[in-house]
């Protein structure tokens, strides 16, 4: 099969050539550094290339949005990050931002405007759903026939921003065997990593949240647990390992499934 090398466009290079891309693709720290989640970033970059989207990343100029600092109470550090990021985005005249991480999405969409950072913020599930609806991505609806997929709602897409429909619409196009747990949509249980929990030990209790959530989702007898957030991915992957179910149940991000079906 023929392959094509993908060069990721970097904002500074484009600007040096006098080009201005339509979108900034905000990769996020997990997207850049988390070994498992880097595969998700790569998958989404393949889609962007496949669609011929006009975009660029900041690369070494990208920095943490400040989300974990803010939710851990360090407003000072959050605002330092935010104001510096806003300055960089201003230099590149960024108008539209695509994020893969729901936490980055939430903070750009809801919180940066308070500091003067106003953008059209698009989460990748919205972007993908739109591309499918417009026929730019054509999915063979029988591709994953017989594969039971359950979706874990990330809190920062779901309850935080009411994005429930798009991920479901995509997954239902991938498989006729999409299943729901009763704790889904606004009733979904958190994976346990939000609010900066990702970076600290859990308090004393009788169970880890990620195990509870994994057990819930396993009740639906899925072949795949689909996620749409880097932290949820870490938690669900760990949960499957903990339950010794990582052989028969896989955890994939929604965009990885699309790339699989498109065979990119």
């Amino acid at each position: 099969m023929e392959t094509k090398k993908i060069e990721i466009p970097v904002m500074a290079d484009l600007f040096a050539r006098g080009e201005k891309p339509e979108f900034l693709f905000w990769v996020g720290c997990a997207g850049a550094f988390d070994d498992r989640y880097k595969k998700v970033t790569r998958a989404f970059a393949k889609i962007l290339d496949y669609l011929g989207t006009s975009y660029a990343v900041l690369g070494p100029e990208e920095s943490c949005t400040g989300d974990p600092a803010r939710r851990a109470g360090n407003e000072m550090l959050y605002q330092m990050q935010a104001l510096q990021n806003i300055e960089i985005l201003k230099n590149y005249e960024v108008k539209k931002i695509i994020t893969i991480c729901p936490h980055c999405y939430n903070i750009f969409k809801n919180e940066y405007p308070d500091l003067g950072g106003n953008y059209e913020v698009i989460n990748y599930v919205q972007f993908l759903d739109k591309a499918i609806a417009e026929g730019k991505i054509k999915l063979d609806e029988k591709a994953l026939n017989g594969t039971r997929i359950v979706y874990h709602d990330p809190c920062y897409l779901g309850r935080a921003n009411d994005i429930y429909a798009e991920p479901r619409s995509i997954l239902k196009k991938l498989t006729p065997n999409f299943v729901e747990h009763e704790r889904s949509k606004s009733f979904a249980l958190c994976c346990g990593a939000g609010g900066a929990q990702m970076f600290k030990e859990a308090e004393n209790g009788n169970k880890e949240v990620f195990i509870e959530r994994t057990e819930q989702l396993l009740e639906t007898n899925p072949n795949i647990i689909a996620t749409a957030c880097p932290f949820c991915m870490t938690m669900m992957t760990d949960g499957l390992k903990y339950k010794n179910r990582n052989e028969d149940v896989k955890n994939y991000d929604i965009v990885e499934l699309i790339v699989q079906v498109l065979n990119l």
Binding site: F33, E62, L83, E111, G195, E201, V209
Partner: protein, 440 residues
């Protein structure tokens, strides 16, 4: 005579109520400003949806339905109560009878609702007294919390029994006197048979039930502000005063923005303050005690009826951690009850050596929150717990420099290399190495 006694009872009721509310307003004066009340149309919509439509209580459909019956019934029966006050003051009998067909509708639905509420309340009492419902337990649920609930439910049950007794007595009396019955009483008509045909005793029973019902309302209204059932008064306004931002949005700290902008812009740091502009006294970052919370936080805490739906959906609590969103609200209310009178007496600066943080809410609770917003989403009266929890964290981090070790490492990683983990800026594109895709 009856009118005079009634007027005195009403005056006492209103007097005590005014006293209570004045005290609570004094406590509100210790709290901080919050969002301005704009978007009245949108707020009205939220109130119609969440309060009058009971949409969030229906997230638990079965028990939610029973609550909706009680709520909707109360709305109709309230009209009847107003009529009783008119009748009591002016010696009239069923003064609103002039409304004709509409009066038939109000009385009939009130009569049926009274019966349905009595059944619902009985179910609630059975659940609380005999069934072990996990959501009614927890470290914050003291004996007083359970007593509060049982007292309120018993009073509502007595209110409904007296209302049905009054309606039945009225129908029986009118039948004996062969006078026209104002209004429709489907349940009352059935029960009327129980009263017998002795005019004197029927009239006496009617009178007893009438007084019992109205006096119970007067007493109930004055007990409510001192119990968790203050929610009968505050739920509807609390939904109107909902924080309209998306649940994912935290409130910006504008004081910090000023400081950070100064730090980032050296010219600003050395500029003298503009003429007439004084440096405001630095206020405390985050929430340490009740005087640091916003009026909305305190309103939330008074509205909370301790139903525990928040806590039952909390990932931390359901996995055995100490955090309970309900406790965050109950402790705020309790702490204001403790410190409010002291501040009224000795001024806002008064300290009793205790605080909401540490003495009521432990660090362990504050750090267990995942900010998932399940509590806020679940709350039937739109209380927002996570913003308050983050305000507590803001106090711990920015005033006490206290945070779990992992978070301190995360902070310094972000400060030094712009990522929560220890990776360098230069490595931010490594993910893209050797990336290629198939061409189909």
């Amino acid at each position: 005579m009856k009118q005079i006694i009634f007027a005195i009872a009403l005056l006492i009721t209103l007097g005590v109520f005014a006293f209570t509310i004045t005290r609570i307003i004094k406590y509100f004066k210790f709290t901080k400003a919050n969002f301005p009340i704009r978007d009245l149309g949108k707020r009205f919509g939220v109130m119609m949806d969440v309060a009058f439509g009971q949409t969030k209580i229906f997230r638990r459909p079965v028990i939610g339905f029973l609550h909706a019956i009680v709520f909707w019934g109360f709305c109709v029966i309230l009209i009847g109560s107003i009529e009783m006050v008119i009748d009591g003051l002016f010696g009239t009998e069923r003064a609103l009878g002039v409304l004709g067909g509409f009066y038939d509708f109000i009385t009939a639905s009130g009569d049926i609702f009274a019966f349905l509420i009595a059944i619902s309340i009985s179910v609630f009492l059975i659940r609380r007294l005999f069934l072990h419902i996990k959501r009614f337990e927890g470290i914050e649920m003291k004996k007083k919390s359970h007593q509060d609930a049982n007292v309120a439910l018993t009073m509502i049950l007595l209110l409904m029994i007296s209302l049905l007794g009054m309606n039945a007595g009225y129908v029986a009396l009118k039948n004996i006197e062969q006078e026209e019955i104002k209004g429709l009483f489907p349940v009352g008509s059935i029960l009327a048979g129980l009263f017998g045909i002795n005019e004197h005793s029927v009239s006496l029973w009617h009178e007893i039930f009438w007084w019992m019902h109205i006096l119970l309302i007067f007493i109930f209204a004055n007990i409510l502000p001192y119990s968790k059932h203050f929610h009968v008064f505050l739920s509807v306004p609390n939904t109107f005063l909902t924080r309209l931002e998306p649940l994912g949005k935290l409130t910006n700290m504008d004081d910090i923005t000023k400081e950070v902008k100064m730090m980032l812009d050296p010219n600003m740091a050395f500029a003298a303050p503009a003429e007439g502009e004084e440096m405001p006294a630095p206020s405390r970052f985050g929430v340490k005690d009740v005087e640091d919370v916003s009026w909305k936080n305190y309103f939330d805490s008074l509205t909370c009826t301790e139903c525990g739906r928040c806590t039952s959906m909390c990932p931390a609590n359901t996995t055995g951690k100490r955090l309970s969103p309900r406790k965050i609200m109950m402790d705020l209310r309790a702490r204001m009850k403790e410190k409010g009178p002291l501040m009224v007496k000795n001024g806002k600066e008064y300290s009793d050596g205790k605080s909401y943080v540490h003495d009521y809410i432990t660090d362990e609770e504050i750090w267990a929150c995942t900010t998932c917003n399940a509590c806020a989403k679940e709350c039937p009266v739109n209380i927002n717990h996570p913003t308050l929890i983050v305000d507590l964290r803001r106090y711990l981090v920015m005033e006490e420099s206290s945070a779990p070790g992992g978070l301190k490492t995360m902070f310094s990683n972000i400060e030094n290399n712009g990522a929560p983990w220890q990776y360098s800026f230069e490595d931010r594109l490594l993910w893209a190495d050797n990336l290629e895709r198939n061409i189909n």
